[in-house]
Subunit: 357 residues, 4 copies
């Protein structure tokens, strides 16, 4: 390492492994501590690139990231911290695939320049309620219908959904109004059932890290709409997508829906930057949910407009014919007439952005 | 409402329902808006106590909280916000039961003045590793063994546990060292299996709001250790406990394990106040997990000491015979010798606090 | 309180005071505890509206909010919690003034349908750097120039600004390019100096709760641009605006610039909902800072577009002729050419929104 | 860089500069991008240690951290991110001084094994109130009196303190009860005044990043108690301490007082781990404020006990003879009798920990 700065190696001379991890040693680390780390790296077939400063020695670990990043480096004597260089996700990253993935949802393309409006009631409550909502959103220009048959609820005393009956109603509405539909699955034992009916299966925010559920969804073939956990970083969210992707199901759409912060004026804080961040890190499409992030009806229109110009590939909003009577999340549902007005703005903004609606 | 302040009603004249919700109307709300809310409350059998100020009218809703708190009041015209008076949980609250619950875990009491030390490896990796750890923690004074056979992992490329084989090893260690054990369940389909082996079933932080799993656990009879979601408020955590409790399983122990904050010097931020907050709001026992909150070995001792004097009913720490080789969370495991030293301090502090270890 | 629900009082019979606070008593509160609170309310000239449920008594306090909200109600025996009904801010609220305030910044109107683009370097580094940036942003359509002469920096070893020399250069640039300018003030002792030069005085995020500085700014006449503290709620931010407003300076513009959350992919999380929330709660104009919220150059364009359609009244971005050489925040500055391209999109989106740029 | 792993350099061959920063290049970075970074590092007198993996090139920058960490590396073409190796603070770090600093506060040592109890009213309201509190806390064993004469308040309508009159009363109480006192300074223009009276000058949480104030405090000689900003990381807090330290005032005590999180059951979340984290990273003493973190009277005792065993060097609590009448923060003040009982527990726990009270 005599003259490391003078002659940058040509690509052909690059190490064969990934530059996976940087291990920073403490000021007080001994030569034996450094050697111990190096030895362990060699044991697992990795290379160690050592760089020594006045106060710290830093070791770059080059090799298979799945192996290197697993080891508990901070338990080694003399190690201050370990900083991953490569993200833990792989197949969903732009490094792996440069071009945008476009996911087909019952004939509707989502991703790239294909921008999608998804709308409908939060929960399916009755045929009448669902059909009123579906008819209105179809007419106003939505391309996918939303409506849940299974609802995970914070309070055990809340309405939990119509279950299979709800899925049947959604399938009828699909026939009637020509809209494929998205519905949530909560229990891994219901995956098969929901997949039988729905065109797009949603993983709710509380289940983003339910790895059992994610694995099941990876082993079936319907596209998956993966909501961000309201306390998940973008990196954790992409890790969750990787769970599905690596099992063989490559049809994953991400959905930003607000994160938990100290602010209480809104139900959650819509992290609108996440759309652009995801598009930079991953090839998967990402949409925005203005209803559940804001939690108030008056925020649905501004947050939907924001979604259109943010780099996202679509949005999903709650539309209810009579929000006052809604069994779930009525405070954030908009009326069919409000949705129709909103779609006028959406079309104009999508036009400016060059998006196909 | 002419002279409301002069003659407070004696308890006998109290309304029959709960004081459940306060509805604050906007400055711009009309008399019709106010009346509309009142009418709806009467429809559902509740009383409306109306109080008018110069800028705002406030309506107190008295009646069955499960019904009143479900309605989407913020979707009503003229409503600014609705503030719950009573918490949504009921059976797990101190309002419902004044005295401390004591949960029996394979003969070890947890709760009240019974303070418990739980220790062992994060994951069961092998017979040798488990037994080395179990022997050491038993000798140092732990009363319950920890060790997981199923591990939900953020990255799909990480070690996921020995599954049933792990449970068998734990059962052997129980025989050998006389310690009941706690193990995590991840999938609702594994509840029966884990319940067959374990003395205490743990719900991990990522599953705190997995209501499917909670309901299953409420329908079996082994005690449950419910970790706080790392982004759950205390209220949400108690709601999760209510899910289990209302199904008939009253043996629930809570476990604080750190919450997600902006601080990055620790893996999570141990919310030590939560122990005292839970003890005030609920009759259930609560313990603390110093290993997974801090995320660093050097924090285990101070955070364990802190747990002893915080009002908590116990603690749980990762002890590994060789942290460097740990397949899961090695960076935060302590050595058997460190655990033995720590238990000396724990006993002294418990003595000051009048706790039975 | 015999039949409170039947005859809502006409406005003429409303209490003369504000409905200021709701005091929730514990389940265990005695009649004496309730009476003690009522007595104290009467002492301070307020009315107490008492409502009793089965488990809780609730007392509505009607009277002067500044007096009622000051008292430490939670220190009173038997009190569980006190919930404010009216916000603590008053003059900056929509309750106080229904129509939008429009602030005049050196001839440029900000507020209502007047949408403003503010651009320039983060810090003034030299005449050359400032003039290159100013010329470019003026040409591309910015109406106000930004540039700081005083920089509060996290590290004591960072560049702290050119001070008065920087203000002189900004004044020269104003002459040269016809743009009024905004500059930050950090120290209350510099208010007079900055006010002498600048058209709009900025309070930085770290000083939002520097009440000494706010009071000084309230007592001079130049308009103030009040950035949101990166950990302030919208309510605290409006309280800070109230500090300035109540001293007599009504020319306050708010600036959302991202809040601190657990997400690390961005420097801060732009709380885009805040624009709509502020517009609902207050009559003051609000703008957005895409540069300092995202912290990365690639996020400036999407977050600026988002600002245009969010309900905000403008935006402010860092433009630097050579970001690599920037002494402050170069990572988030865009090039003059990038700004010009961005302004094309901004104009198109503003057109859709009916905003005057 | 042919065989970097084989021969770790002996310390004598270490680079002369600090290992300051790691620059991670994008997958798409060209050789020219890499060379451009290397050239810039050489321009500023630093060494570049280049390590190339299959997907990423990583450059370790060795040299003066104040210079290297200033540059906007993320604005350079092809740079993905820059990770600092050394913390930005220097003199307050354990790297700089290994042994604990002990600060003398009017004859009372704080730091190392010297544990201190600080108590008194939040704000000085009157001679009677202050003296009642001071007498009680002195008798119970507090060694330093607290009491503020200047109060920064969130609402402009709240009590702002007795100002110089308050300082005079505190000085009288010092004479009467033999306790040195700590008081807050809010405005840099008041530093001289407060320094004239107080034994220890407090910087409040809202002013932790008020660099103007910090610099003034660094240029006078009274010790400073620096509260953590409620949204500051430990690293930012130590940077703030560095501001004071580098100006020549080495008598800095840190004070953890809770951070802002999503939890609302407490006013703030006491980050008790911070005591141990600070003791590891820095040689400065650190104390804990149980009153302002919890925000409720019932939390003061558990959080004080927790402080004693956490590794902290002391604690500070609000004691008020009549909390109901307190003008500031009455809800979290404890009574003199409660303080006396608490001190019994504190002494017992300090005994276990080997601390001198």
């Amino acid at each position: 390492m005599t003259t490391p700065t003078e002659v940058p190696l040509p690509p052909s001379q690059r190490a064969r492994g990934d530059e996976s991890l940087i291990i920073v040693m403490r000021q007080t680390a001994t030569d034996a501590d450094v050697q111990h780390v190096i030895d362990r790296l060699e044991d697992i077939g990795a290379e160690a690139h050592v760089s020594r400063g006045k106060h710290r020695t830093v070791i770059g670990a080059v090799g298979d990231r799945e192996i290197i990043q697993q080891l508990p480096w901070e338990a080694f004597p003399g190690v201050e911290r370990a900083v991953p260089v490569l993200k833990p996700f792989k197949f969903v990253s732009r490094d792996f695939q440069e071009h945008d993935s476009v996911v087909d949802v019952g004939g509707v393309p989502v991703g790239g320049t294909h921008f999608v409006a998804i709308a409908g009631p939060c929960a399916v409550e009755s045929r009448e309620q669902l059909f009123a909502s579906a008819e209105a959103v179809a007419k106003a220009g939505a391309r996918i219908l939303r409506g849940d048959a299974f609802k995970p609820r914070t309070s055990p005393y809340s309405f939990q959904g119509l279950r299979e009956k709800g899925l049947e109603l959604l399938a009828e509405a699909r026939e009637e109004f020509g809209l494929p539909f998205v519905a949530e699955v909560v229990d891994p034992r219901d995956v098969e059932l929901v997949a039988e009916y729905a065109d797009l299966i949603r993983v709710g925010t509380r289940n983003m890290a339910n790895f059992t559920l994610l694995s099941e969804l990876g082993r079936q073939h319907k596209p998956v709409l993966l909501k961000r956990g309201f306390t998940a970083t973008v990196e954790e969210w992409l890790n969750a997508a990787e769970y599905i992707y690596k099992e063989g199901n490559h049809n994953v759409i991400l959905c930003e829906r607000g994160i938990r912060t100290f602010e209480t004026a809104t139900r959650n804080t819509l992290d609108i930057s996440a759309a652009a961040v995801v598009r930079r890190l991953s090839h998967l499409p990402v949409i925005v949910d203005p209803s559940h992030s804001g939690g108030h009806r008056y925020l649905v229109a501004p947050l939907t407009r924001v979604a259109v110009v943010s780099g996202a590939n679509g949005f999903m909003v709650d539309v209810h014919p009579a929000p006052e009577t809604a069994l779930v999340d009525g405070a954030q549902a908009i009326l069919p007439t409000e949705f129709a007005e909103l779609m006028v703005e959406v079309r104009a903004l999508a036009g400016v952005m060059g998006l196909e609606l």
